[in-house]
């Protein structure tokens, strides 16, 4: 009996030992190889941190698409060729889970060729991960995390190309009370940091502009049943419903509002600004709903048209999701920073500590016209592009709202 | 004062009165048997006395204190221990451990002492082992201390259950069909064991179908039938009671009783 047991233990140990040997052995044989580069192009890796298999996967996959498109574009560009740099990407599936996200961050940090991370989606993931990147001198540009805390930590390496809630929420409230002439709103959020923040900020400004907040409710981002809420909203008789959240649940709320006889538009932030929103809610239900989004409409920007065409060519089966374009820009910002740093410290030294510092400095000094508009960062790392566009669903598509 | 005093005790399940208006008493030092056909309410009476059921009406006292509404473990602490009709040992604990669990109310070390292994804890554990071994010796299982309870032969399992009950240091021991499934030799051993238990100062209340055991050892007998007490008395009186013979054994069974 004890012999069998002993054997069992022994086999466990043997496996562990083998793993340890393989792991350390590999580590010894390859480390240090990454940074030496002669005339051959230097390979620089960009981490893509997004929820791929769990969490808001539709948005996460969009982020991956956008970033990969940007990398492919950049690799074709004369600047990259001139600098002798090829960009590659590695996707870290953070599952929208903070703990897994930090694992991903640590994995990125353990990659000697990785100098920048395009990510993450959820603020709950971005905040703890940003500390890891800071320790490893990795620049992080989030296309989607809007929680103000992210850039208030005093970390020099953290940036975002999306606006924070305190810009988008009030802007939406201004449009709602101004152009749209709305006076009484019912506010709903999805209990995520994004949705809650947006809804909070919208409510504050809406009240400040003389509007009335009739009610404020929290729902879950995976909820499907809003019927009871709709009945409650209906009883308060609002002329607008504001939803802080993402289109998955938001579309359902819009549909159920209209089904339940609340025939007033629903309004939300960039989380709703997605073609899928109209599909899920049904074009008739979504008709007349509003969403704000950062920057100017793609069609109005010189690069927008090009992005749309390229996107269609690369991903014929997919539609542009909420953060595809931001992710394209976020990745581009990082790569431009890398190229600028390469100009200062040479391509081979980009992954060295001084190179990394140069990348961060270059990203901080970003000033470029991206897909989503002009991108530059303030002292905290927030985008200075505070242009917010109001979109409306008309004829089954999102179009910029014109009074 | 009687050790156990049941006054008009009734246990009702829905429309069925499993025990109906039963009054009985057990004096200290006695061996009392409770007999009756299957379904007469004997085990129900045990279950009331050990806190598994709460009597619907009537009173049930032990040493002058009501047991009604008390939990099994509280009643155990008061000094009543029992065995079960279908042996209910902790099958995957060793023989010794089974008896050690019986020392639960007689020991008090809490988790903190256990974690810190305080001198008090060590003393108590040693005492628990010693006391448990004593009980095992008493029932003749000391040599099987490290065997798993479920691996013991049937008769030994019965004795182990008794040892476990005795480890709680009861004043009253309830035995539910202890001789069930035993051969005559084992029954005889059991009878002697019950005698020794009484000698050690423990009162015994016994449910038993084996009339030989009952007649050999019981000081008094109560007879239940359909939840009602139909007779009470010394073995020889019961043997002759026509009500018992008819209700319990059926007409024409006198011969069998005479044999016993």
């Amino acid at each position: 009996m004890s012999m069998g047991k002993f054997k069992k233990y022994l086999s466990v140990v043997a496996v562990l030992a083998a793993v340890a040997l393989v792991v350390t052995g590999c580590g010894a044989s390859t480390t240090g190889g990454g940074t030496t580069g002669g005339t051959a192009p230097v390979s620089i890796t960009i981490g893509i941190g997004a929820p791929i298999t769990q969490g808001a996967t539709a948005l996460g996959l969009g982020m991956e698409r956008g970033a990969k498109l940007a990398i492919a574009d950049m690799n074709k560009s004369p600047e990259a060729k001139a600098a002798g740099i090829t960009f590659t990407s590695t996707t870290g599936d953070d599952q929208g889970d903070p703990k897994t996200g930090v694992n991903v961050a640590n994995q990125f940090a353990s990659n000697p060729n990785l100098v920048g991370v395009m990510g993450h989606l959820n603020s709950g993931v971005s905040i703890p991960s940003s500390a890891v990147y800071s320790r490893a001198n990795i620049v992080m540009v989030s296309p989607a995390s809007t929680n103000p805390q992210l850039t208030l930590q005093g970390l020099k390496n953290v940036f975002r190309v999306c606006t924070i809630d305190s810009v988008q929420g009030p802007a939406a409230a201004d449009r709602a009370t101004g152009d749209l002439g709305k006076k009484a709103v019912f506010i709903v959020d999805d209990s995520t940091p994004y949705g809650t923040g947006l809804a909070d900020e919208f409510g504050k400004e809406f009240t400040a502009k003389g509007g009335k907040v009739l009610g404020r409710e929290k729902t879950g981002d995976k909820d499907t049943d809003f019927k009871a809420l709709v009945t409650k909203i209906k009883a308060t008789n609002p002329d607008l419903v504001y939803y802080g959240g993402v289109y998955n649940a938001g579309a359902l709320l819009s549909k159920q509002l209209k089904d339940g006889g609340v025939k007033v538009p629903m309004m939300g932030g960039d989380g709703l600004y997605d073609g899928q929103y109209i599909k899920l809610a049904g074009a008739a239900n979504a008709e007349g709903d509003f969403a704000t989004s950062v920057g100017l409409p793609l069609a109005q920007l010189p690069a927008g048209e090009k992005f749309t065409t390229e996107f269609k060519a690369a991903y014929p089966n997919d539609e542009i999701a909420a953060y595809d374009a931001y992710s394209y820009d976020a990745a581009t910002v990082i790569m431009k920073g890398v190229l600028a740093a390469a100009g200062k410290v040479t391509a081979a030294k980009v992954t060295s500590p001084e190179g990394r510092a140069a990348v961060i400095a270059a990203v901080a000094a970003t000033n470029y016209e991206g897909i989503t508009g002009a991108i530059a960062f303030d002292a905290n790392g927030d985008t200075t592009n505070k242009a917010i566009t109001l979109y409306v669903v008309k004829g089954g598509v999102w179009i910029p709202y014109v009074k | 004062m009687a050790l156990v005093e049941a006054t008009k005790t009734t246990m009702q399940f829905g429309g069925l009165k499993a025990v109906n208006d039963v009054s009985m008493h057990i004096e200290e030092g006695e061996i009392v048997a409770l007999i009756g056909p299957n379904g007469a309410g004997k085990t129900t009476f045990f279950n009331m006395l050990t806190g598994i059921y709460k009597p619907t009406s009537g009173s049930l006292t032990f040493s002058g204190q009501s047991v009604s509404g008390k939990k099994p473990n509280q009643i155990c602490r008061m000094g009543i221990a029992r065995t079960f009709q279908n042996i209910r040992l902790f099958a995957n604990m060793t023989t010794l451990e089974n008896v050690m669990v019986g020392r639960h109310t007689r020991s008090k070390a809490g988790p903190w002492q256990a974690v810190l292994r305080t001198p008090g804890f060590k003393r108590e554990e040693a005492a628990t082992v010693a006391e448990a071994l004593k009980r095992l010796q008493f029932v003749g299982l000391a040599d099987k201390a490290n065997e798993l309870a479920k691996n013991l032969p049937y008769g030994a399992q019965r004795r182990l259950e008794i040892a476990r009950a005795l480890a709680t240091e009861p004043q009253l021991l309830l035995l539910d069909e202890p001789a069930a499934g035993m051969n005559p030799q084992e029954s005889a051993d059991l009878t002697r064991l019950i005698g020794r238990i009484r000698t050690s100062g423990v009162t015994v209340l016994l449910i038993e179908h084996d009339m030989k055991v009952v007649m050999d050892i019981a000081d008094r007998i109560y007879v239940l039938d359909f939840g009602e007490l139909i007779a009470e008395g010394k073995p020889e009186e019961i043997q002759k009671d026509p009500k018992v013979i008819v209700a319990y054994l059926g007409v024409g069974a006198e011969a069998m009783l005479a044999q016993a």
Partner: protein, 410 residues
């Protein structure tokens, strides 16, 4: 008297350790202590230190839940509630503690106290979690097994929803809360001693990840020590007895409620401790870390590893928390950059949960008693003893209420 005290209860635990076992323990100990140093030293491997730290937190959680599920036989599907209590207590009270300490004028003392706040929070959170366990247990432990499972599930959800709704203004709702400080006690000093062997690319600096890894390991050692001693005590025997036969245990004097409450409180305590470490290692706490699926994963660790078996539970937790990360780590490791096509690598890591689900099914079919079952449990759960199981499995509740179906023990 029968056997000497040494060979008593050999069935449950062996009193003396064989030489092989000692060698094994030493080897394991060396691995646990030094392997992370090696991993940390090679940059490409350094992220495994973080993964090991997370695995450690799950080991701690699984050891705690094992007291409830493995020893007392109570299915708790809301264990994550205690983990959340610990994490939130660490952040909320830690912040208060730091605020108070900041007023001390002696700089050295102040800095020392600030950096050691998590040490203060460990016992505080453990007590809060244990008290929560008691508070939950008192009304619900009377319930039968499956009813208890759903009530604990509900409790876990209630805690998460309260946190999400910023209950009493304590939790900042969905925004989440930053941990009070970044630099724990002694880390700065440890970082003053780098080890570098450039020839093999070894470059070791004591990282934050390594710091929390060692803290977790210390807590695990403490947990194993405590749990072993509990198992082998009056309370531990009461748990086994209760699990085997509630009616019989109760009739020989075991107070079922008290024993269950102890199991609940002592189990919850480790959840609270794990929460403190998580909050500090993560630096940020938000409700999304404490979902029902977390509870499910912890139960899975206990069952897959082997209920009631300390090595089993440890291995179970390590594998379940580790496998998906390992698959990801290996598939996406820059080491394999040239070997595996990146698309294939991300496809592999995309399939890891599918494979994981399949493995759970296969594992249960092949080894339902868990990978390393406890000696007793293995006997208890031997399929041949089906009949015995069914007879024993009546609980006090059934007997009292005359339930017609036998209520299986876990």
């Amino acid at each position: 008297m029968g056997g000497s005290k040494m060979d008593i209860r050999t069935n449950v635990q062996s009193g003396s350790w064989s030489r092989g076992k000692i060698a094994l323990a030493v080897l394991l100990g060396v691995l646990v202590v030094f392997a992370p140093v090696l991993l940390q030293g090679f940059q490409t491997m350094s992220f495994f230190v973080r993964v090991l730290g997370i695995i450690g937190i799950y080991v701690l959680l699984a050891l705690g839940l094992n007291i409830v599920v493995g020893y007392a036989g109570l299915l708790d599907l809301g264990y994550v509630a205690f983990y959340a209590m610990g994490a939130y207590a660490a952040v909320i009270l830690g912040e208060k503690f730091v605020a108070v300490v900041q007023t001390i004028s002696n700089v050295g003392l102040r800095d020392f106290l600030v950096s050691s706040q998590f040490l203060v929070m460990l016992p505080v959170a453990a007590i809060i979690a244990a008290l929560t366990g008691l508070a939950l247990g008192t009304p619900v432990l009377r319930l039968r097994g499956d009813y208890l499972a759903i009530v604990t599930l509900g409790f876990g959800e209630i805690i998460r929803i309260l946190a999400t709704n910023d209950f009493l203004g304590l939790t900042k709702g969905a925004y989440g809360m930053m941990a009070p400080i970044a630099q724990p006690l002694g880390l700065a000093q440890l970082q003053l001693l780098p080890i570098a062997i450039p020839a093999i690319g070894f470059n070791f600096i004591f990282s934050v990840n390594l710091y929390w890894y060692y803290i977790v390991v210390l807590l695990i050692i403490l947990a194993v020590f405590v749990v072993r001693r509990l198992d082998n005590s009056r309370l531990g025997r009461a748990w086994v007895a209760m699990r085997e036969d509630e009616v019989a245990a109760s009739s020989v004097g075991v107070n079922i409620m008290t024993s269950k409450l102890w199991a609940f409180a002592l189990g919850a305590l480790w959840g609270g401790l794990a929460g403190v470490v998580f909050a500090n290692a993560q630096g940020f706490v938000s409700p999304e870390s404490f979902t029902f699926m977390e509870s499910v994963f912890i139960v899975t660790m206990v069952v897959l590893g082997g209920m009631g078996s300390i090595p089993g539970v440890i291995v179970g937790a390590a594998l379940i928390a580790g496998i998906p990360e390992m698959i990801r780590g290996v598939a996406q490791s820059p080491l394999l950059a040239g070997v595996i096509d990146p698309t294939l690598a991300s496809a592999i890591s995309g399939y890891r949960y599918l494979v994981f689900g399949l493995l759970m099914v296969i594992m249960m079919a092949v080894r339902p008693q868990g990978m390393i079952p406890s000696t007793r449990r293995a006997q208890e759960l031997h399929p041949e003893d089906e009949k015995v199981l069914e007879e024993e499995d009546q609980s006090l509740w059934d007997l009292k209420h005359g339930a017609d179906r036998s209520e299986h023990d876990l």
